[in-house]
């Protein structure tokens, strides 16, 4: 492994990953799309025409049956059957998240009897996961209360997104949701790290829960001027342009991802393939309910994560930035990276996965952890696309438009959420 751990603290490794986004339903497809610089952003289906925002990453047409059939041999037949039965009556968020969870579980080489299920936890990063499903039931309620989805009282809860995957995979250890707006999934990783270091579990599945956005949320973000809605409705693939001078807001995207974190001892005992190590993590607050980024709180989160990882700034090789394509957010993050990493910030690539996949909201940090580990394993960094008009105030190496070879031993992944919530995870390459 690439960094020294404090004596007596359990090391935590990544042994499985799964992905479910507009850029791919499996790791190779996702990696290929990222390296090509492909955009997963298009017109959103079924949005009220009066809503100004109409672009994003749309997975409303996701076909579970086709996915399970095409995934074929990758999944054990028993798990495919469980997935078909459980997910039939599950809203979109739970379906997408479960597919990512299934991918991570199988990628980790887990299955019945491999690890004691009472020692496998599940932490889901996310909240407000099913607004589109809730809106459609609200419309039905107005028409005829008896005809709402009969399972609404159960599957309308965010906890059902966690529970359906836990039942599918028989995860019986500590399980709960972590909510921190767009930092939810990074803080879910932090929480899983704590569970594993504390010995409360041997493995923890961390899922980034897909948020199935609806017109109400889009319009809410339009009114706040948080999302892109002015210039790119007719060129959606150009809308997510972090760091570029023409950026005008984030681009929401529906997507999910999952990683299986495990103590190094557990992974070693069962001969699992280690994909990467979670070296450290940290979170901070700016004690603010607003959406405004805060330099000091971001610096504290990144600095504390490096300290937790016992990694000096000079050893950081790459930053997967939060970089949502908002005017203020990207600028403050660049300033925070410079403040923590000093001269090193100018020597390393800093890219934005969101430039291609969009902002997967509460799931984004797990999506970006998967992107980070794939780049680390394959020695290549993906581009930040839509770099057309450089912003003279943002002067780091954003890997503009074209991928390139890059050795990464230590990576930093940032995430910052509305409500002053900041987080950072430090990842080390497997050795």
């Amino acid at each position: 492994m690439s960094a020294r751990r404090r004596d007596g603290v359990a090391r935590v490794v990544v042994t499985g990953m799964g992905i479910m986004t507009t850029l791919g339903e499996d790791l190779d497809g996702f990696y290929g799309a990222l390296m090509e610089g492909r955009s997963g952003i298009g017109r959103l289906r079924g949005i009220d025409e009066r809503v100004s925002a109409r672009i994003g990453g749309d997975l409303s047409a996701f076909d579970l049956g086709a996915h399970l059939t095409s995934a074929g041999g990758r999944y054990p037949a028993e798990l495919v059957e469980r997935a078909r039965k459980l997910l039939r009556m599950t809203p979109l968020s739970g379906r997408l998240t479960a597919v990512a969870a299934l991918g991570a579980f199988v990628d980790a080489g887990l299955g019945p009897g491999v690890v004691d299920p009472t020692r496998i936890g599940h932490v889901l990063g996310g909240h407000n996961l099913n607004p589109a499903y809730t809106s459609s039931n609200l419309a039905m309620l107005r028409e005829e209360p008896e005809f709402i989805d009969p399972l609404f009282g159960l599957v309308g809860l965010d906890t059902d997104v966690l529970a359906v995957s836990s039942e599918m995979l028989d995860l019986r250890g500590p399980s709960y949701l972590v909510g921190a707006a767009c930092a939810s999934s990074n803080i879910a990783i932090l929480s899983a790290l704590d569970l594993l270091r504390a010995g409360r579990a041997d493995a923890v599945l961390v899922t980034g829960g897909a948020m199935d956005v609806d017109a109400l949320w889009l319009q809410g973000w339009v009114i706040m001027d948080a999302i892109s809605y002015r210039s790119f409705n007719d060129a959606p693939e150009r809308a997510s342009r972090p760091f570029d001078a023409l950026r005008e807001g984030f681009v929401p995207s529906v997507g999910a991802a999952a990683v299986l974190l495990e103590t190094a001892a557990s992974a070693r005992a069962r001969g699992a393939v280690v994909r990467a190590e979670i070296l450290g993590a940290a979170a901070s607050s700016s004690a603010s309910r607003t959406s405004k980024p805060n330099l000091d709180a971001q610096v504290r989160a990144i600095g504390a994560a490096l300290q937790d990882a016992d990694v000096p700034p000079a050893r950081v090789d790459y930053v997967n930035a939060h970089a949502t394509s908002t005017t203020q957010g990207d600028a403050v993050e660049v300033a925070a990276i410079k403040e923590v990493l000093g001269a090193r910030a100018y020597q390393i690539p800093v890219n934005s996965t969101k430039s291609m996949v969009g902002h997967c909201l509460t799931a984004s940090s797990v999506v970006e952890l998967v992107a980070t580990v794939l780049q680390m394993e394959r020695g290549r960094v993906h581009p930040t696309i839509n770099q057309e008009v450089p912003d003279p105030t943002l002067d780091l190496d954003f890997v503009a438009n074209v991928s390139r070879s890059q050795r990464i031993d230590v990576a930093v992944s940032n995430a910052f959420g509305f409500g002053g919530l900041n987080s950072c995870v430090v990842i080390g390459a497997a050795t």
């Binding site: 008896e146 005809f147 009969p150």
Partner: protein
Amino acid sequence: MTRDEILGAIKTNMLEVIEGARGREIREEHSLVRDFGADSLEIVEVVSRTMKQLKLKVPRTQLSDAHSIGELCDLFLQAAVTAGR
């Protein structure tokens, strides 16, 4: 509305929802739980789908009295009569 129409709708929804019913003969004297292994959520879903499909409302307080598919049919038939259909 005829008893056959109601039974047809219940059967269609059972086949969609209850795995244990697929490929099996479904008769009025059968029980959803005993004969096809349906769980409580699946029963709720079969009843709700049938109500929506037939545009009929069966009082949910009476559903626990229906132990067989035939008795469930009786409740729907009664609702059709009440609705003047």
